[in-house]
Symmetry: C2
């Protein structure tokens, strides 16, 4: 879809390029929560001035994907336990009804696109690229919102999915992502049948399932602060 890491030559390399690249890296868990994103560092990597980097970072901060601490710099966000709860609660309010609407509006082309999505996800899993599989799994939800033709909610879901990726990085406990894939399959079928009620129900269950797959009992502050304090912010 969009060019992510490879910025070969003719592309203008705008702030969006940088913010998309960083966002993608976070989605794919190549950037861990807490990682410092130095401005000069990013400037060098993408060969743009700090002005552009700054714009990109501000954009990511507005999405709660990174946190900018004044005079300290930008860090990949570390959602608290409370925040994790909130994000999934918000998703449970928005996505089921959106899935219903998507089922009502979906065309054959849309369904084909969703299926292609799943195929790519499986391919990534088989290739051992767990990060990319997770990223695609998230994009699946955004795609449904797009099919529902609801830009406002799609934007919100896009942000919530991004935050979910960070939450998963911090609090995930289940190993296999197979059940998830099953849920997506069932959703595609419901949408393909234009069965709104079923799609809504399935999405609701799917989100509750995801939600319950998180370590919500672990003391949150301890874990992430220990990580930061013991291992430092450096990653990769």
């Amino acid at each position: 879809m969009t060019l992510t890491t490879s910025h070969s030559s003719s592309a203008p390399v705008t702030a969006d390029t940088v913010s998309n690249a960083v966002s993608q890296a976070i989605h794919e868990h190549r950037l861990a929560p807490g990682t410092k994103l130095g401005e000069d560092e990013l400037s060098d990597i993408y060969e743009v001035s700090r002005t552009i980097v700054r714009t990109a970072l501000q954009s990511l901060a507005h999405q709660h994907i990174i946190e900018i601490k004044r005079n300290r710099g930008a860090f990949v966000a570390q959602p608290s336990l409370t925040e994790a709860q909130e994000v999934f609660e918000a998703r449970e309010l928005l996505e089921p009804r959106t899935a219903r609407r998507a089922a009502q509006k979906a065309t054959a082309k849309d369904v084909a696109l969703l299926k292609d999505h799943i195929t790519q996800e499986h391919a990534a899993l088989n290739a051992g690229d767990r990060g990319r599989a997770l990223s695609l799994s998230g994009k699946f939800h955004v795609e449904i919102a797009r099919i529902a033709q609801h830009k406002t909610i799609a934007d919100m879901i896009n942000v919530l999915v991004a935050r979910s990726s960070l939450i998963i990085a911090l609090y995930w406990r289940r190993e296999s992502a197979i059940c998830e894939s099953q849920a997506h399959h069932a959703l595609i079928n419901a949408i393909g049948d234009n069965d709104g009620a079923r799609a809504e129900e399935l999405m609701q269950r799917h989100l509750v399932d995801l939600h319950s797959a998180l370590n919500l009992k672990e003391s949150p502050a301890v874990e992430q602060d220990l990580r930061t304090m013991l291992l430092g912010n450096r990653e990769r």
Copy 2:
């Protein structure tokens, strides 16, 4: 709460100062949709460099309150008819359940705060300051989300309320805001009684009522484009 227009002396005048001031002006309908927000102009007004103004504008753009057109500048957003529908649909998904939660968590202090809010709103109306009354009416909804202790949803509602203010500026047809005030009163009572179910129901009705008070049949593009083309972008 926050200092809005008056920045007397010692305050550092950051990007938030500017963005809050502009946001407030939009909430109060002192800035009409389509108004151009020149960078130099804002620099002069708030006595900061364009760098700060730019940061503020980017922040507002992320909230869909203004639109930044490349090489053209920033303009107060003109939500389309579709967008208006979407914003209220999103609110109808988020706010009723949030009101329920607020009712469950509300303390006596919270209720007092809400009542004070209404009092101020009435005072503004009596003083003929319709803009400020509208702004307070919007803040009422945000306040409920705050009482619900749900920062994630509160942020979303905050943005949706801001966008609603623009939508009202463009598509409002009803004259009196009395019914609205009544609805808020009823909501306060339900919240004061910690009656979650009733609060949810009342909020749902209130939003549908607001939604139905809009001119959703008028061709949208015509109206706003005519405005721009006939009157120009200049305002005030």
